[in-house]
């Protein structure tokens, strides 16, 4: 993609993060080697970018970000549904235990796989069993 001074551009390789906005800027200089100086909107910082650029036009960058946002929202919903379903199963297990005079809290052998899985994704504390 050929750029010229004054072009509005956006980063084309930024992974999506919730609450993050598309990173846009303006090309303010191009040197004789083709390196770009870009002033970024979010903090007015200027940085020099050497080829090959991973830049898109502002419109393309916005479109890319919108698609990532949609994908994220759909994925978030799907994951939320899965975790709600998992929670419902734990609830059922808890009720089964309770209705039979038992306490799921004490059934460590049964719940260990779930606790381990939670720990493996970073949801764990030493006080989880407290």
């Amino acid at each position: 993609m050929q750029f010229k001074i004054g072009d509005r551009i956006g980063k084309g390789n930024v992974p999506f993060e919730e609450y993050q906005k598309v990173e846009l800027g303006t090309i303010i200089d191009i040197d004789h080697d083709g390196n770009l100086s870009i002033k970024w909107d979010y903090d007015s910082s200027i940085c020099r970018i050497t080829a090959p650029y991973n830049l898109l036009s502002e419109e393309e960058a916005r479109q890319r970000w919108s698609l990532l946002e949609i994908e994220w929202t759909q994925l978030n919903k799907a994951i939320e549904e899965k975790l709600t379903a998992a929670g419902k199963l734990v609830d059922e297990a808890k009720d089964l235990a309770k209705n039979n005079g038992q306490d799921l809290f004490h059934m460590w052998d049964a719940v260990q796989p779930l606790m381990t899985s939670l720990r493996n994704v970073g949801w764990s504390t030493s006080s989880l069993r407290c």
Binding site: P15, E18, E71, L75, N76, A78, I79, E80, K82, L83, T84, A85, A86, G87, L89, V90, D91, E92, A93, K94, L96, A97, N100, G101, Q102, D103, L104, F105, H106, M107, W108, D109, A110, V111, P113, L114, M115, S117, L118, V121, G122, W123, T125, S126, S127, L128, R129, C130
Partner: protein, 135 residues
């Protein structure tokens, strides 16, 4: 009041017969005396008080033989219940793994998503909630 028990009987606290994940069984005690109002006197040994005579309402007690029957039934119930509960938790774990895989397919971690409410709900159901859980 008529006594259900006699001196020498082995008795057990009715509510102390238990079979489950963390304990099973009961402790039996021998009747050493009876009171006129229907109480039972036994020797009870506590780790902190040593052996002492205590008086118990006879309605709180059952015979050891009854306790054995009750325990056998509780064990049977537990052996039927435990795999069902374990199965539910396994199912929950599998569904959780599906969520992890869904996130991983797109290069994310499940913890990147806004699902703490659901995770908290899940752990609260199990009785494992803690204020430090989100750390």
């Amino acid at each position: 009041m008529e006594n259900k028990f006699k001196v020498g009987d082995k008795v057990v606290y009715k509510n102390h017969v238990h079979y489950g994940a963390y304990s099973d069984g009961f402790e039996s005690m021998t009747v050493v005396d009876l009171t006129l109002r229907g109480d039972v006197i036994i020797f009870q040994t506590d780790w902190y008080q040593g052996t002492r005579k205590i008086t118990i309402d006879q309605n709180e007690l059952i015979l050891e033989s009854e306790a054995n029957e009750k325990l056998a039934q509780l064990e049977k119930d537990w052996n039927e219940l435990e795999p069902v509960i374990t199965g539910k938790i396994k199912q929950a774990t599998n569904v959780f793994h599906e969520a992890v895989a869904l996130a991983a397919e797109k290069g994310f971690k499940v913890a990147d998503f806004d699902v703490m409410y659901e995770v908290r709900g899940m752990t609260r159901s199990g009785g494992w909630s803690s204020s430090a859980f989100s750390c």
